[in-house]
């Protein structure tokens, strides 16, 4: 047993750069597959409601605006979303995607809502969804 086994390491660190970054001024890159917030590409959505059914947080809400014109509205409640990307996996047409934003906090939870109003798309679904 020797005394002060830690001292050389401590001294070495006097001359090292800090391990952290100056966060608000300097930001770390997020990896390309980072799970940020989900967003919809309405031109691809066939309103199959798979995302709404599988979302564990009940954050996706699809309502019919006008049945005859096939107009629908999708609301993603980002305040409830747990950023799991299950909706992306469930979507058969890749209409749902994740962005890489991470600074999404707000003073009012209602500002976190995202909504789209669109006409149902006619796209052929992928032969097999990753998980359904």
């Amino acid at each position: 047993m020797k005394l002060g086994a830690f001292i050389p390491e401590l001294l070495r660190h006097l001359f090292k750069k800090p391990a952290t970054v100056d966060y608000p001024f300097q930001k770390l890159e997020v990896p390309k597959d980072f799970r940020g917030s989900p967003y919809l590409r309405p031109e691809l959505c066939i309103v199959c409601r798979a995302c709404e059914r599988d979302c564990p947080a009940e954050a996706i809400e699809i309502t019919a605006v006008n049945e005859a014109e096939k107009r629908f509205r999708m609301v993603i409640h980002n305040d409830r979303c747990i950023h799991c990307a299950q909706c992306v996996d469930s979507c058969p047409t890749e209409a749902m995607l994740m962005d890489t934003r991470f600074e999404i906090s707000d003073y009012d939870r209602h500002n976190l809502k995202m909504e789209w109003e669109y006409v149902r798309a006619v796209v052929k679904p992928r032969s097999e969804a990753k998980t359904s």
């Binding site: 047993m1 002060g4 086994a5 830690f6 391990a19 990896p31 799991c84 299950q86 998980t131 359904s132």
Partner: protein
Amino acid sequence: MKFQIPIGPQHPALKEPISLRMTVEGEVIRDADIRLGYNHRGLEKLAEQKTWIQNIYLTERICGICSHSHTTCYVQGVEKLMELEPPKRGLYIRTLVAELERIHSHLLWLGVAGHEAGFDSFFMYTWRDREIVMDILEIITGNRVHYGINTIGGVRRDLDEQQVKRILDSLDILRQRSEYYKHLGTNEPSFVARLAGVGYLSREDAIALCAVGPTLRASGVAMDVRKDDPYAVYDEVPFEVCTADTCDVLGRTVVRIKELFQCYNIIEFLLKNLPAGPVAVRAPRRAKPNEVVSRYEAPRGENIHYIKSNGTDKPERLKVRAPTLGNYAATIQMLKNGFIADVPLIFAAIDPCICCAERAVSLVDARTGQEKIISLNSLKSLSLKLSAGNKRKREAEWPL
């Protein structure tokens, strides 16, 4: 003269709500009693209302640190219920994330042990190096804490060449750093003196009280679900079960450091032998009526999920036994005849995750000892009534 002193549920030394009633003689603890139930999770009930897929994300949120342990345990059980055979590559990636999680959990624990022993620079250094693992996890799964990599029938994301190389490179740094911590953990005299002999749990007691995980292995019992009842691909991976025979907190530290090195070897093996092919198979939405018990060696010990299906797309029952619950009985034994000053250290040495083991709150009348069930709203009004008498608190204003 004997005194009873309560520690917790709110106490600076314990970060989570749990209450210890200790009978002390001077500084020495003669008897201890653990009271649970300060945290209402309502999780098992919630699981009955969610579909098989939604429950993956629910079980993931049982614990922040062993999130992958709970999902794997759950998903394995559901795969058995649905009679699915996940592809090899999927199982390899699942095991890889499991071992990365073990590294991050053990490094985190080492830091906590350093902190509780009053060695805060050790705490900061281990946590800095833990960031390396967190970054790897973020790269391969898309998030640092809740990886969400498991799905029923495999995993959700594949690995590419670049990621494999990145992980292997980082492993070298981690190995080097762990080597240093091993050296430090066994050579720094004040650290060793603080940990040695504290929280003694004999081999017989550890077995009799059903301790799990590193706590059990530090008492010289080589028990590990990965070896005894291999799941995923552990039957193909060479590794050793690490034990120590000092039966104290120092032993628990040594076991965890040794396990770190095993993790590095396992990860290296997995990456070098990664089979090609798909990562997941398609899962049905329903499971036939049946029941299953799934076991998993989490960083803290054996994790058990019991799942019962009834033919619908939701489970009929999900019961979770988190490893911390298995260690409580042994903790009482460790506390006995110890000093009050050792309580945080002994408690931290089982790596407690109290909120994972908690399920529901029961209200007990302090005078009559009677239990009652009340609604959330009446609980709220009850607490408002209690604080109503405290005017200064209710009308406090920010002084600046």
